[in-house]
């Protein structure tokens, strides 16, 4: 007998998948631009630049939706890592990923409507959504309007630090996305969490 519990309202699911699409498009075009090679183009440079610009602005818009939606609905609280005992809960979660899951142990902190994320998720999501992503969006917007970048810095072009932070932040998001997709298979069934992200219902 499976239990069903409603976890995710429509706006979060719509935001999540739009955000995911924007990030995939930005990652592919971003790689094409940064590792540009006329003999081996992933996406042709000028096309990649145009798509990257449009998708980047969409991502910035989606971020506004995310922040406003979180404030209005109070969902922001879900992302806040909550002490006390947060380190212990993180370690327990790591232990589950590192060994427990191989032994068939149950998820130590399964999602509930009150607490969507385990401690490790909260810490990671909070860092990505409130630290890394805004920095990547801000640097991306400066890239879009480079006249706002500092003219020169340490004898080099002022756009260099902006570009470096944008690149490293984006790389962190791509690494997060790979792990995030994989960790999506860690529900009661491999497909449970993906289904929840689509329908909003958590089956366990």
């Amino acid at each position: 007998m499976t239990n069903r519990v409603f976890m995710l309202p429509l706006w979060i699911r719509l935001w999540h998948w739009s955000n995911a699409l924007a990030i995939i498009v930005l990652a592919v075009t971003g790689v094409s631009l940064h590792f540009s090679n006329p003999d081996l183009p992933l996406v042709e440079f000028s096309l990649a630049a145009r798509i990257h610009n449009v998708a980047g602005v969409c991502l910035a818009g989606l971020y506004v939706v995310f922040v406003v939606g979180n404030i209005v609905t109070g969902n922001w609280w879900q992302y806040v890592p909550k002490p006390p005992g947060i380190i212990g809960r993180c370690l327990k979660q790591m232990q589950f990923y590192g060994s427990g899951i191989f032994k068939g142990e149950k998820e130590p902190f399964p999602p509930t409507p009150e607490v969507n994320f385990n401690a490790l998720q909260a810490v990671t999501y909070w860092s990505i959504m409130y630290l890394v992503l805004p920095v990547v969006i801000a640097t991306g917007l400066i890239f879009l309007y480079p006249q706002f970048a500092p003219d020169r810095l340490f004898g080099l072009d002022g756009l260099l630090p902006i570009a470096l932070v944008h690149y490293l932040g984006a790389a962190a998001i791509v690494l997060f996305a790979v792990s995030h997709i994989y960790l999506g298979t860690m529900g009661p069934k491999v497909s449970s969490l993906f289904k929840m992200m689509i329908s909003g219902w958590y089956e366990h």
Binding site: H34, R50, A163, S179, Y182
Partner: protein, 322 residues
């Protein structure tokens, strides 16, 4: 037989003229005494042919409207390639007295008088250019290269200064309906350059960072910049020509700095980085390898974790069956 001899004689004379002219262009710089004399002589010309001369004409009855077209900025001229030359070197017979002789202009030295070898090479390139196609009769070296202003890129070295000088030449005509109409064939409208270049992100910023000729000359020639100016159909449109590790900017705008530090702080093409961050060209291979390594490690990590999960799940299931 006679024709053969005549041809040979003509050839020898042409070679002699060319060698003399080249030697003329490569003359040693004037001594301080010669330079002082040149300055004094030039100052006489500048009493009329300068902004100051126009404001306070030394003579009555000058045609000031006409004079306005023949002004020289003394500082720009002095800093230019010809800045140590006497005006009379080019403006010879007929210019020594005022009013100048009616036919003085006919005796004006031409560029190839000094720059014969260069002119021969350039003419072949120019003949294929869009300017030759539409304006072969009226278009001369000085249409673009004002001899009172130009400084060789190899002397300027700073890419910002090179870009400012060279793009001004193009934009003076192509960014002004008035100037364009003065030179262009009748009925030829000035192409709307902003619209034509709308595909180029941050168009005007690009024009501040690179020269029009980076794209509007054939890019196959990696050794020198051609005078074969290409129209929009033939111009380079592949961004990756500049935006890649093997950027053509090294052979073009940055060719005079190409021997300088190319790996400052571990960045590829770091000589460009001193002026512009060029996506795809100015990147750091060490950082790239670290990022690629982390990505591969993450992918391998999740695949490995997944495989172990599959194996341990199957093992548990078969154990439960037993």
């Amino acid at each position: 037989m006679f024709a053969n001899f005549k041809n040979k004689l003509c050839g020898a004379l042409a070679l002699l003229v060319m060698l003399t002219a080249t030697a003329f262009a490569d003359d040693p710089p004037p001594t301080p005494e010669e330079l002082a004399k040149i300055k004094t002589a030039n100052a006489e010309c500048l009493t009329c042919h300068s902004e100051a001369g126009l404001k306070k004409p030394p003579k009555e009855g000058l045609d000031l409207k006409k004079l306005r077209n023949y002004l020289v900025d003394v500082d720009t001229y002095t800093a230019s390639d010809h800045g140590q030359m006497a005006c009379s070197k080019c403006h010879g017979d007929g210019y020594d007295k005022h009013p100048h002789a009616a036919k003085a202009k006919e005796g004006l030295s031409e560029c190839q008088d000094c720059h014969a070898r260069k002119a021969m090479r350039i003419e072949r390139q120019f003949d294929k250019s869009v300017h030759a196609e539409h304006l072969s009769d009226s278009f001369t070296c000085s249409t673009c290269h004002d001899p009172h202003v130009m400084t060789l890129a190899s002397k300027l070295r700073d890419p910002h200064k090179i870009v400012a000088q060279d793009n001004k030449i193009c934009l003076d005509c192509h960014d002004s309906d008035l100037a364009f109409a003065k030179i262009a064939p009748e009925k030829k409208k000035r192409p709307p350059i902003d619209d034509i270049h709308s595909w180029l992100p941050n168009t005007r910023l690009h024009w501040q960072a690179v020269r029009c000729i980076e794209c509007h000359t054939p890019t196959e020639d990696k050794l020198s910049l051609s005078h074969e100016i290409l129209n929009k159909d033939k111009a380079e449109k592949k961004c990756a020509t500049c935006h890649s590790a093997n950027t053509s900017l090294n052979a073009r705008l940055y060719r005079h700095l190409a021997k300088e530090e190319q790996n400052k702080y571990g960045f590829l093409n770091s000589v460009i980085l001193s002026n512009s961050y060029v996506v795809g060209a100015t990147r750091n291979p060490s950082i790239d390898w670290i990022v690629i390594g982390l990505f591969v490690a993450t992918v391998v990590g999740v695949i490995g974790h997944g495989l172990v999960r599959i194996i341990t799940t199957r093992m548990r299931r078969s154990k439960n069956h037993d």
